[in-house]
């Protein structure tokens, strides 16, 4: 079995069982480690990727469901978002950061200049143990300014 989809802009074909989990395929198969393993139970957000622009948990997503879809990982989010996180120094350990920038990319792909409440709502499923939340919100708002027309 093979599944073909777009990954960070390029076509990719994954051989093997369609039931393989996207997180395992990305990290262990393709060496793309941006999506992090945090819980494997769709509860922390560390593994988020965009599928057709929507943030989904790679740890709960089977590769077979991705045929023909557009997948973006933390490695592929717009540079302006990464730059905003660096400008705000929006992390401590940074383990949650991948999930945060993907959640941000999902929001900013759909809403121009979101308000603080929209940012908070978009990030609410993502956990951070270090308490970097206020900076992360500030970073997303900064990125939103940078991406607005």
């Amino acid at each position: 079995m093979a599944t073909t989809f777009t990954l960070n802009g390029d076509p990719v074909t994954i051989e093997g069982a369609p039931t393989a989990l996207l997180l395992d395929v990305l990290r262990n198969g393709l060496g793309l480690t941006g999506a992090r393993y945090g819980c494997g139970e769709e509860q922390c957000g560390a593994c988020l990727v965009l599928v057709d622009g929507v943030a989904v948990h790679a740890c709960g997503r089977e590769v077979g469901t991705l045929a023909g879809r557009d997948v973006v990982t933390a490695e592929g989010v717009p540079e302006v978002i990464r730059a905003a996180f660096i400008a705000e120094q929006a992390a401590q350990c940074g383990y949650c950061s991948s999930g945060m920038i993907v959640a941000a990319a999902g929001l900013l792909g759909r809403v121009v200049r979101p308000g603080r409440d929209e940012v908070v709502a978009a990030l609410d499923g993502n956990l951070c143990r270090c308490g970097s939340h206020p900076r992360i919100v500030a970073a997303v708002l900064r990125a939103a300014e940078g991406m607005a027309p």
Binding site: A20, L21, D24, R27, N28, G31, L32, T33, G34, R36, Y37, G38, C39, G40, E41, Q43, C44, A46, T73, A74, E75, R82, F85, I86, Q89, A91, Q92, C93, G94, Y95, C96, S97, S98, I101, V120, A121, L123, D124, N126, L127, C128, R129, C130, G131, S132, H133, P134, R135, I136, V137
Partner: protein, 698 residues
Amino acid sequence: MIANTLPKSLQDNPRLDQWITILPGGGVMLRVGKVEIGQGITTALAQIAAEELDIAPGRLVVTAGDTAAAPDEGTTTGSMSVEMSGGAVRLVCAEVRGLFLAAAAGRLERSVSGLSVRDGAVMAGAVATGLNYWNLAGAVPLAREATGAVSVKPQSAHRLVGTDMPRRDLALKLSGGGFLHDMVLPGMAHARVLHPPLIGARLEAVDAAVIERAGASVFQHGNFAAVLAGSAAVAEAALAVARPVWSGGAAIGPVMEEAGWLVGREAIHSHFGVAGEASPGDRIRAVYTRPYISHGTLGPSVAIAEFDGARLVIWSHSQGPYPLRRHVAALTGLAETAITVRHAQGAGCYGHNGADDAALEAALLALHHPGRPIRVLWTRADEFAQEPVGTAMSVEIAAALDAAGRPVDWTATIWSAPHVGRMFAANLLPFQALPEPPAAVAMVDPAPEGGGGASRNSVPIYDVGPCRVDVHLVQRPPVRTSALRGLGALPNVFAIESFLDELAERAGVDPVEYRLSILSDARARRVLVAAAEMARWARRGPAGTGAGLGIGLGRYKNKSAFAAVAVALEVDTEVRLRRIWCSVDAGLAINPDGIRNQVEGGIIQAASMTLKEQVRLGSEGIASRSWAEYPILRFSEIPPIETVLLDAGDEPPLGVGECTMGPTAAAIGNAVAHALGARIRDMPFTRERIAAALLAGG
């Protein structure tokens, strides 16, 4: 400033070349024993080094926590990194710079006084001399002991220290790398460990056939067992079908969840200080508790180990590479010199989580699979159920009061499990699983003079008269316990600051005014007043309206950074945080933005613990094994936080990682009491406790 006593890190590692190597091609390697656990320590240390060496920070390569290439600085913990390691780096780099200037002066046949360094180049006034660290390196041997006698720069001369230098590790982490979790070695086997449900459980049987059918193999040694496979997916599949049969083990259950269960158990007793004459009947008393708390690291523990038949190399996110190496030697029987432990970053750990256990497990597996690198990864459930948790604590304070209602005689009685289980092999999982596990040893906390464990911050920073602290360290808690951010500081400060609010109320005095009336430490007063002003304390409303404003103050370890936190919140069936204000005096601020980051992170983590967190126990061990069962604070629950760092001039830098934890828990407790007109003395502040407090208070 001339140092007359060398920092401990430098006494232990006195040679300059243990810290600094001039690299060919224009770089400088800084070697440190403290490791990056997510708080920016390597950035702050690089900042100090670049400052004293007068080089651009970009020239520095930092090697942290490598037993083959970096000094032994013990464990990265307790806000000590900037105080200890930073002090050593500062002196070493000042001395290295001085040696190079002296060598240059010799070459140029002129005095040192006219020379300076600009980005590693020796300058005579504004003129480059053509000499620099790199072309002089051969003439300046660093294989010599530091004297500590070279002057470091005064604050007024700092160009880098005191600035918001960005984190060195962030860009990589935002681009998909940066963690040990991402490391792959050729031919690496993936292992998952079959962990026992209860402490001391015996492994009766493992069905090897079912594991082999899943494509994996099983390794067993005593009560230790793991599945191994060529891929992570197969290892996980094998773990899912493996049904190890366990028997025995120390029975536990929900009744042991609360700190109250510890009170009166078999314990090691110690005390310090002397109480006054007041009889028990003359004292006001109250008991405050915190339950067991998970470190809740976002990334479960991982380790890689490789044994070539003679040498064992381990990659770990342990906080203490050298202490870990000692444990690995004891576990494997290899000499310490045959073992290298290399630190690589994990997710923020906030103490002793599963990192060391996973590293020891990988070491054991590698030893029995020479030539094959072994990667051990814990599952989320492992990390919640198997890591050593932060201990529950019960703190009873009893004080006699003067006519004005101020304490004149103070005692604290603490019941707790040990706080530094990492030190004892008998408390580490792979040792417990040996065919003949090490005998139980007395697990004692650090001495009070060293900061204490359960006793940390148990002595008030206020003028309370004679003070005695009794510590009962329960040796057989229901779960493994070890270091959690700040050890006993959070429960003790929560207890003291709650108690003071209760005393202020008895005396009919405003809580801030009351504190100031028994507080002579000028720095503490300044911090308290600053937070109160930020929170517009003077406009604080009456109690019992459902809206509360509370404050908490502490000096971490009674000798580190000062912090005051004020919290505004609302309570109906649950607590909703509205605003938080914080003031900190951290001495000389190496990296103000880094300090703010840690201070705010500590506030949010402490708020999460105070409002939500409790490790749940069931008959099968720890029952809270997922984020659904162990919720932490989310974005929508976190209010705006305003922080000020008070200027402390040239006062020595003080660690800030833990300073806001206790004051935050206390401020929330006091604000809730203000909102309800009734007090909750037990963390976390659940709906049930809010309802009970209202019932009791109303």
